[in-house]
Symmetry: C2
Subunit: 695 residues, 2 copies
């Protein structure tokens, strides 16, 4: 056996280890008690709703994948693609969806268990919720690495394709993952926010009953939403980022170095990242009655330990594979550090421990309009620091990798920075995915009428989840931007490798009007996409509002607690409308790059990718952070500041929070996927565009 | 005398004709009666407040100009600039400010006169208000052309500089105009919205008194705001667009054709535009009791006539100057048509005659949060059509001008499209500036307790003003994008003409990381700028809210109408806080291009300009249209739809309108100037950047 195959097998083993760890952790979690009969019943309802949603979502997704398979198959027959591509596309979609599915399964199995564990104590609750998050985190990285290495083994060592053709087919695999991720994020995001907004608007605002009150007909749908949006959606999303960053750096590595070593490096960093993350999880525990700060430091201990370990181990790896260019190590380091810094910046702008959110809470004193204006401007202002961080990271990664001498080496460095940023994904995703579990546990505690101390504990865990979610979003956005840039470079390489392509992509100067127009259209896409997804949430939420109002009116004794609400109806409504609404945005994302390619040619596509990346990054940060700041400003007021719960200020803050919901949980995160799927689709259709483009 | 000088003098004569026409119109307007003693008194208060604001604004602006003059002087001494540049900078600022000043003077002199004329009838009212708008429109174009031709005469025919050096100095003149415009737009925009929001929040929402009620202490400040923001600010803004588009096409014409003819063409189109616009104004009249539609068609008749006339006359002009490239004519035509189409698109998205705003009004049924989400998404979605229009316009302008063969000719075509778009400025600005006059007249009618029928007439005129304002904004935004692209091309030419510059700007490819980083930072600027200006409005409004609340509490008998409010205090407060708040955003706009230039070099600057233009255009359209849609959704509800005035739905719509205020009248329009001033500053500091840049 040669060295190369050993490396790939070692990576495969690391991925299996991640999956094994996830399985063992799942077994442990499932061993805990689900609590009382009532808790089990509630948890079952949530589970049932989530399963029903996912199975119907998959049915729609399958149609899309079947159509795309036929299209890609036809393209392969006509010689525009290698024959493996359609199959790679399918597996990408399958594994991405499967990651989300597993995450959702374990999350819905752990909510009651977490609530029950919180009866025993805070530490126990943290362990259960975090373990559930870990299952998700390691499933995502494990399945991602596994799929990659299987394809690598088949294409490189069995079919014996040349390296360029291998990475080429694997990029299609990325397109499958991205499409699935977009469906999951958009559909799940619409579901969760429609349910949430619907439940809040009628329940909290109109009927004046507390959050998670069992009398609210949308309360189960709300909990289902946390699982299908924040868990399954996020799982598919980050699976896609993870795989995308690794594939694009493999492709750019081959282009720059013409050596398998450059392809092995990102794989090995990812493999090492898995191992270090597993070790990190063992450090996550806290003592009883821990403060918010201590809880946070419990989680940070795990992620920081993993990150430092990866930073240390990567150096000899780089030295081994690319001795003459060992300074590329600093690109990986830049990525790792940037991810953390963007997370910090997100935390600064959205946590109520800092000025921006506290000041935002204060603007509620002059009414709803001022808190809306304030939140929008916090979000817009918060784009500055992340864009500087990403800019510095790109420049550092480019130049330490020798970009000054060879552009392709520099671009490889940028891709590696994304791999570095995502190398800790196993554990960062665990800290991120644990949030919705804690949130659900709180809901169950409320609905099952558990002791107040239990709800306090789940609230502490949940509120921590908001902070870790902010960090997680920082990683997702930062890595999306870097990966999108790397994919743009891969696209250019791909076009140049096609007969007649080099001619069509000669003038990439930014003052070439085709590039400029592409840039304009690309920059516009995130705005349009955000509008479409927000409208979808609005429409879906309105249908929920009407249904909840109807139930309050028509079900006698509901408000008095003498009759049960028809939860299933709300779940069904959310399912139907969110699935209906997810189709248009996804199709836009897939079709636009092809249209732009045909009309403006490859130079226009490159402009479009650059424009979409820049404006998409800004919109994603803006929307996520505005949403986060509103959410926490509301929580800050609820903690007794500026009049506290029930005051006029609080009402204003609730409106802010409701506006922020689709911002931070639907539109914002979907844009991350949008900017990558645009490049993936462009790459897959590159040969068609070169043949048929007008310019 | 040679042919060239005749052309310049003819242009100068056209500019003098515009000024003469403005003066005669002003004389006519001033001949009308101001109405009763009370009306005169109110009008005087508004005038006094506006004068006080402007004189204090100019004092601050003078400091800025003095500092810049010293900096530019020092640069000239060290050989980075020609010695005329600092003086050109000053005159640009002076004339821009002067345009705003004249507009403000006539607007504040015509508000009571319009109200009085409305007592006689709708047609009379329209004529007075429109005449006031015409004074402003023709002052702007007249002074703009005059300043241009004077400098041209001095530099080309007296000092006898080569053509390149002439356009170079004139670009600095543009930077002066832009700086002044930015101060006026930002300062005036903050003033008007702080007063408006303050008056509305306490008066309408808290105290429950009608709009423009004389008991509201902020009511005069609100009227002052219309004048200093919507009139003086807009005047300076469009002066800057107008001059900027002409200068940049002169500069690109010289670069492309090395012939004065290419410089004479934009000047002559502008001159012809002035004459055609004057003729168009005579068609603006309506019959008594005219419907909204008839009023609109009265205004459209004037602008359409002017536009068609210009389209016809331009063809022989192009034929005369550039016979071999007469197809450039279609670039001018593309610009003219695009301006109209963008205006139409703005109207579609923001007028309550169409679905988007009607649907937006409907979302108020489910509360404040949904109307906010709805308005944001209308704005974001509304970016798509304008961006396609601008894209098509750019492509057409580029290719019909021979861009396929010579890029510089194509870029000249893009600049000419902007000149074409703005050639009707005299009359479009008249229809635009008439809005605030009618708005003020309504306020005076209310405060002076005139007959209800008068207020109905002023309301009809005002509501029409909202539609024309939408069209005006379309022109401002569209021309800003085209001019910014032309200025970017001028910047590249400028760098290439500097010793050692060509070397530094070799690789403008969009995948060059320096270009990309520049693009990221540039795209971020409009977000940051919007956040800063929104925050400013928020802070200034809060101080007004507090003052108004204080007066309601402390002035005995105010609510009963037995005591006068202290209007001057509110005006003073708005003045102070808006002037204080306008400084930071303006300084950011001037300093950032220099910093980016020093750190990233000229390629980074080009990336920045492209990024700022793309994202700035999108943000400006998004914010203006969201604001417009909210405003008209509120008016639609007030007209009796969805519950009408006073309903919960109306309250929700008022919040939307309040959020939209800084969107459409402060942040959105300021971004238009931002994207141009970035290029102007970059051009002026080009030589410094080439000498000192790190990359």
């Amino acid at each position: 056996m040669n060295k190369d195959i050993i490396i790939v097998i070692a990576t495969a083993l690391a991925s299996l280890l991640a999956i094994l760890f996830a399985a063992l952790t799942a077994k442990k979690v499932l061993g805990y008690s689900e609590g009382s009969e009532l808790m089990q019943k509630i948890s079952r309802s949530v589970r049932k709703g989530a399963n029903a949603y996912l199975s119907r979502q998959y049915k729609i997704v399958i149609i899309f994948f079947a159509v795309m398979f036929v299209i890609l198959g036809a393209m392969a027959i006509f010689g525009f693609l290698t024959p493996f591509v359609p199959f790679a596309f399918l597996t990408g979609g399958f594994f991405s969806g499967f990651s989300g599915f597993i995450g959702m399964k374990i999350a819905t199995a752990s909510n009651a268990r977490t609530a029950n564990a919180c009866m025993e104590g805070l530490n126990k609750g943290l362990r259960v919720a975090f373990s559930a998050g870990s299952v998700m985190g390691f499933t995502v990285v494990g399945l991602g690495l596994l799929d990659l290495t299987i394809w690598l083994l088949i294409l490189k060592f069995i079919v014996k394709l040349p390296d360029e053709a291998v990475t080429d087919a694997m990029l299609t695999f990325g397109m499958g993952a991205s499409s699935m991720a977009l469906f999951a994020r958009v559909g799940g995001g619409i579901f969760t926010k429609a349910a949430d907004v619907g439940a809040d608007l009628v329940g909290k605002v109109e009927a004046g009953i507390p959050e998670d009150d069992p009398r609210n007909p949308a309360v189960i749908a709300d909990n289902v939403g946390d699982n299908v949006g924040d868990v399954a959606g996020m799982g598919a999303d980050l699976y896609e980022s993870y795989v995308g960053s690794i594939i694009s750096s493999c492709a750019l590595g081959i282009a720059a170095f013409k050596s398998f070593n450059a392809m092995a490096l990102p794989l090995c960093i990812a493999a090492i990242g898995v191992l270090c993350s597993v070790l990190g999880t063992f450090l996550v525990k806290t003592k009883e009655g821990a403060s918010q700060k201590q809880l946070l430091s419990a989680l940070s201990r795990g992620t920081n330990f993993s990150a430092i370990l990866i930073a240390i181990v990567s150096l000899p790896l780089v030295w081994y594979f690319l001795k003459d260019n060992w300074t590329i190590y600093f690109a990986i380091l830049a990525g790792l550090i940037s991810g953390v810094l963007i997370g910090r910046s997100t935390e600064y702008y959205t946590s109520d421990s800092y000025k921006p959110t506290q000041n935002l809470a204060k603007t509620s004193e002059t009414g709803t309009a001022t808190i809306i204006i304030g939140g929008l401007s916090v979000g817009m202002l918060s784009t500055l620091i992340p864009i500087i961080i990403v800019s510095v990271c790109v420049l550092v990664a480019y130049f330490v990798s020798g970009g000054a001498g060879s552009a392709s080496m520099g671009l490889y460095g940028i891709a590696l920075a994304a791999v570095g940023m995502l190398s800790t994904l196993g554990i960062t995703l665990a800290t991120d995915a644990y949030g919705p579990v804690a949130d659900n546990a709180g809901g169950i505690a409320e609905m099952a009428g558990l002791d107040k101390s239990v709800r306090e504990r789940t609230d502490a865990l949940d509120s921590l989840g908001n902070t870790t979610a902010a960090t997680g979003k920082g990683f997702a956005i930062g890595s999306a931007a870097l990966t999108a840039l790397a994919l743009m470079a891969s696209y250019i390489n791909k076009i140049q490798s096609i007969d007649g392509g080099a001619e069509k992509i000669k003038n990439l100067a930014i003052n070439n009007p085709t590039v400029l127009i592409g840039l304009f259209i690309g920059a516009c896409l995130p705005f349009v996409f955000a509008a479409l997804t927000m409208n979808s949430v609005g429409r879906a939420a309105q249908s929920v509002v009407k249904e909840v109002r109807r139930q309050f009116k028509e079900i006698a004794g509901l408000m008095e607690g003498n009759a049960d609400a028809d939860y299933a109806k709300c779940v069904d409504l959310c399912t139907k409308s969110s699935l209906h609404e997810m189709i248009l945005p996804t199709i836009v994302a897939v079709i636009v790059p092809v249209i732009v390619g045909i009309v403006l040619g490859p130079t226009g596509v490159v402009g479009m990718l650059a424009g979409a990346t820049a404006s998409g990054f800004l919109m994603a940060v803006f929307m996520s952070n505005s949403g986060g700041a509103w959410d926490n400003a509301k929580k800050y007021i609820e903690s007794g500041q500026f009049g506290g719960k029930g005051s006029e200020n609080h009402k204003a803050a609730v409106v802010g929070d409701t506006v922020g919901d689709p911002f931070k949980d639907t539109s914002g995160p979907s844009i991350n996927i949008l900017i990558k799927i645009l490049s993936m689709v462009s790459i897959v259709f590159a040969a068609v565009v070169v043949s048929f483009s007008l310019l």
